[in-house]
Amino acid sequence: MTVLDHRHHTAVPGWLPGATAPRTDPSPLLPDSAPVRVLGTPALEKYDPALLRELYRRLVVGRRYNQQATTLTKQGRLAVYPASTGQEACQVAAALVLGERDWLFPSYRDTLAVVSRGVDPLEALTLLRGNAHTGYDPRASRTAPLCTPLGTQGPHAVGLAHAARLSGDPVVALALLGDGGTSEGDFHEALNFAAVLQAPVVFLVQNNGYAISVPLSAQSAAPTLAHKAVGYGMPGRLVDGNDAPAVHGVLTEAVERARSGGGPTLVEALTYRAEAHTNADDATRYRTEAEVAAWREHDPILLMERALRELGVLDDALVREAADEAEALAARMRAEFHADPELDPMSLFAHVYAEPTPQLREQAARLAEELAAEAEVQH
């Protein structure tokens, strides 16, 4: 399958950590140094064709999900949308490697991973639609709320994994972070706690080259972000984040290690944010069309299609099946998001505490009066 060519990447401005140092396979520098695959999946043959088809299907559906959410935002149906377009390989692989009882700790950009885990888009997108903070049941879906304060979900994943381990419960927690998030103190503290506690947690850093407008070169001087694992005494893995089977493989290894008591792993997936940071962002201010175009050559769906065709795994039936499922999801999203959501102003007071305080009861009563008065006026 297509291979990421680093001479090509070094030609891509603004992408590398440090103008001078080109990224190379850091295997020798990483502990527990199984070769770190950065050059694409070696032997696709060893993958179960059923898995490859499943990954392909989810990629196609995921891309369509990103497109539809973006359209809904343009139509004012979502308040804001941070698209994961171009990062679908990481998103669907993250969802696929987790067992039913495992936990996912997503960030604001990871709604596709949440949906790919089985959460309804209508529930996964309430935060970005603006009708509620978290629309799904974290306990039922074993998925933490979308995290906005960067890096802060790291310690949560560690704590949950640690608690499960103490209870002899074979749960693994997978935390999704961005390249920018690795700079936060909470990232450091999470990795250190995870390593010291040998918690069954996996940190997946989707390195999409940017933190809003800030390129990786202004974020870190490390040879790779995977190198950060060294300072905590945990294995680090660097993988082509647009190569779905490769991401799935590396994450599966990490999840299994965690489940079997082997402790945490830091995985850096090299990918690219194909769209602006959000619909509100203007990416032309800080990156070139040439760079964006270069990365289109490495689009995760493109790579997957080529690879599966080479393997003869991709037949027209699968293509149609995936396309139909994608369209069905998009149609459902259009229908559901064009209807206005139910809103209950009194819900503002319902869940601040288990029992509203006397002060909140007073304030709720005042709002209720106001609403009643308004209702009066309407009649």
Partner: protein
Amino acid sequence: MTTTAPAPAGPRTASMAQALNAALRDAMREDPTVHVLGEDVGALGGVFRITDGLTAEFGPDRCLDTPLAEAGILGTAVGMAMYGLRPVVEMQFDAFAYPALEQLFSHVAKMRNRTAGRLPLPITVRIPYGGGIGGVEHHSDASEAYYASTPGLHVVTPATVADAYGLLRASIASDDPVVFLEPKRMYWGKAEFDPAAPVEPVGRAVLRRTGTSAVLITYGPSLPVCLEAAEVAKAEGWDLAVLDLRTLVPFDDETVCRVVRSLGRAVVVHEAGGFGGTGAEIAARVTERCFHHLAAPVLRVTGFDIPYPPPMLEHHHLPGVDRILDAVARLQWED
């Protein structure tokens, strides 16, 4: 520092430190989901010995010495609570809770609300606070205003040995996050108490001394100062009531307003700086609710609006009996 010996059952004389230790031990015995974590809470038993003996009795998994990182400690507790445990976090000193404020404000205080009640966080964050022990800078902050002004947190602070035990038990049992502020200068004061004897619930203020002239409204480390002031005041012909809030959030408007209405004069006392301190909220809400019962404005006696002083100067900063009596004298008795 001496050992906080395992507490015998039944009525006893104990220091506040021992009562807190007993509360943790009894909670851990009764509920296997209660876990303690923090810096030096294990073999050392905490720098104030509040967790003394817990690792010995319950093992390091139940009472965990963490790496030195407060955001990591509280964030890890959040994850443990998400799984179903009941973490009790120890912050070593008031100012060393600041690295955890983002976790506290953006997650601990908000998680129940942002998940429509599906993900409550029964976390107790124990923080030794305030001065009076000759601590060097950053070891004596009275930081309660930061917590009391953050919706989603309960803020509890005991001022007696019995409350130290009872309120900590209640806080650990609460399904909401509680910031439990321990007046560190009161750790070593002893009193009779019976763990079996229930205390007034969280959210209730208690009249520690009845009086007919005016009421001193206070909490935590300032209660003894107020009681002493009330004693001295007798000589000046004032019969002062002393009200111990015990809980800053939720606030006991009912009890506070009943007392203020009946006396018409009130002074709020705390050692934190006055500007933006909890005394401002207390004075403002009491005035809103009891305006026509007030013979004088509700006055505040607080620390100065300065960074906490070095040990040799702290007594000039902390509200003492004289300052309280000066305020009482300014309650316009001539009216």
